[in-house]
Symmetry: C2
Amino acid sequence: MSIHKMMNFETKSAIKNALIIQIEEVGFERVTVKNLASTANINRGTFYLHYKDKFEVMEDLQQELLNELESYVKHVQPLEAFHILKTGQLYQPFVEVITCIKEHATAFRVILGEQGSPAFSKRMKEVFSNQILDRLSVIGEELQDSGFQQYLKAFLASAILGVIQEWLDRGNEDVSVEELATIHSRLVLFICNLTSTQY
Amino acid sequence: MSIHKMMNFETKSAIKNALIIQIEEVGFERVTVKNLASTANINRGTFYLHYKDKFEVMEDLQQELLNELESYVKHVQPLEAFHILKTGQLYQPFVEVITCIKEHATAFRVILGEQGSPAFSKRMKEVFSNQILDRLSVIGEELQDSGFQQYLKAFLASAILGVIQEWLDRGNEDVSVEELATIHSRLVLFICNLTSTQY
DNA sequence: ATTAGTATCAACACTGTGTTCAGTAAAGGA
DNA sequence: TCCTTTACTGAACACAGTGTTGATACTAAT
């Protein structure tokens, strides 16, 4: 019926796309290989030529999203960001991170959502923590004990992700990428101010 | 072999306990009714006398934990807390919330964890948001637009939960209940100060 | 002694899994 | 053009777990 013989790459993409659709419909828990195959318009046997099970598809999809996210988060220079934010301007690398998330909004929303994967939010927090907060914490290093710093990092990484999740859940339309960046800036600025002056 | 004929209540408890054990071992995804029954030392048929499927057990367990959590969170009076924290003292209702979580540490850690349920963290955040933040936001009401407030709530609820998760993941032994309450206080005080004075 | 409540055990059809194997259709190099 | 490779199909298989049913048994309260 359809134009068969896709390339290896296209089929894998179709399966990952089918996973997003199926999670949204029935939740990851209830997704079956059978459903995945029929949603992707491939034979069930073909599925097993590419993936071991639905968990491997999820892992592949998450890794794809995290890699792209990380490539943008990397460009955030905490100290530079801090100075630009203080002047009330938008810090561009931050806007690009949010743009990246908006481009894959459905995937992020679904996987982070109630029907998604409990591991993904932890992995996203790790990206923020490793790429931003580890470099930012230098500011208050002499002033704070390392125990407190661990919790400060957990606090901030969760907070940043929480705001993104709220935005995704609200359909990411009421607030533009620039507005969300502004909201983040206002919130983060609160903390940056304090970690460098108080305690 | 064992002393059979438990009460309805005891069997349900045994099943819920088996769920926690099984999630930790294989992850909620891979938990089966068969495993649950054998872990709880009951017949598989008996399981169906109490629950429809593993999802219903999870729902029951989550509701149980959330109800208890909420009963403690209710006693937190944000304004009162704010004044006590400013003096450097511990706010007792807050300590009791953390004690409640410590008492069910395994359950909270496992369900919030990577192998747990993606919906639970959202529900916990809602408890914090509804019971604490909704009453706290009155402070800055005239000063902030409601859009920003929504995101501030998401920011804080996620941050609070993030710190608790970090604590649970670290085995909740390195830091005592009182120390965690202090850490929370220091972090929350940052924000409270700002929401009531700045902007 | 009867009854209600709780649990056991075995059997059932059913759905989804993971694998295998024979077959097909297109792309492209010799 | 022939031939090999690559990518997929379709049918079959044994196997795991599901959800239900019907017969049975123990225990406690009335």
